[in-house]
Symmetry: C2
Subunit: 350 residues, 2 copies
DNA sequence: CTCTAAAATTTACGCGCGTAAAAAATTTCT
DNA sequence: AGAAATTTTTTACGCGCGTAAATTTTAGAG
């Protein structure tokens, strides 16, 4: 049984931890401890294990590992709609941070469907995750199911809040961001009317109320255009409904604040299709602004003026709170809500 | 211990299959068989189990289930870049189909990074999946690692091919789709030059070669503009490089075929920023076409003329082949490559 | 060099379920 | 009706690892 010493001995595959322990000359419980937390064993033994690990290329059986562990290293990440690059981007950040912290992130998308969200939570429950980062559907969520889930599993809500549910909520401060862009719009032109997205989640209503409050404060009459639609095809909704409104003589003012960027993207497309020039320059007929700073907003024509949500802050804070929760275990403390401010992004559309 | 009979007896939580078997009056091995495949038990017993299931709300332990199973019900789905709605959309279809077939899809994104792709494959291996649907990074992939993985796990490649790797490949027929749009462009205006995306995957080269062949066949001199960049921020690359070219006097002809829609989206944004009118109408200076029919392509201004990949066909065929593979088990048969034709989507940009 | 705290080993059990084999019960067919 | 085929039950073992308790070894301090 000769070998060159650079690979696993005669490529004999290691079946279990017992065998690996024997080959590496370390007891199985210690190996087990190492895999649970590499820092929990003495530096010298850690070295020996990692040396052996390179030589023999062994990985413990995932299923056997988690079966008897009180807490797995799994972290569930649930977003309402993954085809939305906003959530794709947040999810990416979340995944990265979990991985770096030695956890095992696993990503789910509810695809805008209540049943799917419930199924995901059920699946997640049987995964016995250490914690869950959940951006709920919002209005589309089965409140009872989500509430029950959060009682069983340490869960941090983000993006879309459900009052009192989960250990914490992290999101954007619509009460700051909406007035911010409204003020900008008022200072640079006509006061905006509000093109409201379908109320699929609570942010829609929060933004509407923030619009009403800000307009009142500034002494302008509010004008709301509410668009119907229950799906998550916001661009399509913005396009279709925008088309209707524009054909019927347009909006009440020449400035439109959309309740999110995806809606604005659709509206810009509708305006383009009708050859209505959009932008802040002379000769343009309409100004359009959005909210979120969606990854594609800089590539619309004209590029979209909007309020940026602080992606990095939201994802960082979310994992931070969740990790703290996982550490603390028992003393949950009061439910905390963290809201980050939006930043004005001035581009060409308004 | 009274109860109303509609819920679980005094909400006493069932710990394991043994207990559930006792409560439902059926032997544990039969219950086990049921969970493995509900159709494998007699209809009458299936009814009894499902009735009991409603009353007691039991779910078998996922980890214990998979530990000793030769084959799990897990199916891995790996895409190179989830922030790209194209892949998000494909992944959505794939997930749905797996779920419907009684499998457990689990989604991964390589985020354009080789190391991450390798890590994902390693994790996947320890999940002992029934099969894997893999859209590799392409040029960025660690060919050896992917090859080795495919030897261990039944894998179907899609979107981006790696010769000889995996049990099958499903993708688009660039040799048909590219000439298709070239012919359209030539018939409606000037022959196109080719704005080539960074060669992150083999499709880039295939499309380039298809362009060259088609132009030669039609008797037009080919003009290729190659853009550099190693990242997956195609819109940004299209914008930046497009800006350079347009500032320097523009492209060789007034018609530009981009090697994919995301690049085209960036290029359109660049043209808009320079106030260069884009489209097929009189007065426009440049026509821009793309490839893929990206979900956002209909919302650009002007809307993007492109060739649609058949999303549904690709995802359906991929799962179909994989399921066949899982059924067949041993006799793998020869590696098959399936290419679907693209369809011309005539919009406003060209 | 001894003492002590920390870490590793030995030993042993159990988790929840897959799965095999033989026996018993049920259904289906002639 | 009885025989054959299918399904279920009984019994029993093992998977790979977590984890606890008692013991031994090791490292670091005085």
């Amino acid at each position: 049984m000769e070998n060159d010493g650079t690979e696993d001995m005669g490529s004999h595959k290691i079946k279990n931890m017992e065998e690996f322990a024997a080959l590496s000359g370390i007891s199985r419980p210690t190996i087990s401890k190492y895999f649970h937390d590499p820092g929990s064993v003495r530096q010298s033994t850690r070295q020996r294990i990692e040396t052996a690990l390179e030589r023999f290329d062994y990985r413990p059986n995932l299923y056997a590992m988690n079966q008897n562990r009180r807490l797995t290293k799994t972290i569930g990440i649930v977003v309402p709609y993954l085809a939305d690059p906003f959530f794709a981007e947040i999810a990416r950040n979340l995944e990265r941070r979990c991985l770096d912290a030695g956890f095992w992130p696993i990503l789910f998308s509810s695809h805008g469907e209540q049943k799917l969200e419930c199924d995901i939570l059920d699946s997640l429950r049987s995964l016995k995750p250490a914690g869950v980062l959940l951006a709920p559907l919002g209005r589309g969520s089965d409140r009872k199911a989500v509430t029950k889930f959060c009682e069983d599993v340490p869960t941090v809500l983000f993006d879309s809040n459900i009052d009192g549910v989960g250990e914490a909520f992290i999101g954007s401060d619509n009460g700051q961001s909406v007035p911010l862009i409204i003020e900008y719009l008022c200072r640079t032109g006509a006061p905006p009317c509000f093109f409201e997205m379908p109320p699929v989640n609570p942010n829609a209503n929060k933004r509407r109320n923030a619009y009403l409050a800000a307009m009142e404060r500034l002494g302008h009459p509010p004008q709301i255009v509410r668009v119907e639609g229950k799906t998550w095809d916001f661009e399509q909704i913005g396009y279709d409904r925008g088309m209707e409104v524009l054909r019927r003589g347009g909006f009440a003012t020449d400035t439109v604040l959309c309740s999110n960027d995806r809606l604005a993207i659709g509206l810009i497309a509708a305006a383009a299709a009708l050859s209505i020039p959009v932008g802040r320059e002379d000769g343009c007929q309409i100004r359009i602004a959005g909210h979120d700073d969606h990854p594609f907003s800089r590539f619309t024509s004209p590029s979209l003026t909007t309020v940026a949500q602080d992606y990095a802050a939201i994802s960082n804070k979310s994992v931070e709170v969740l990790f703290a929760l996982i550490e603390a275990k028992e003393d949950a403390g009061p439910r905390e809500e963290t809201l980050f401010e939006g930043k004005l992004v001035m581009r060409a559309s308004a």
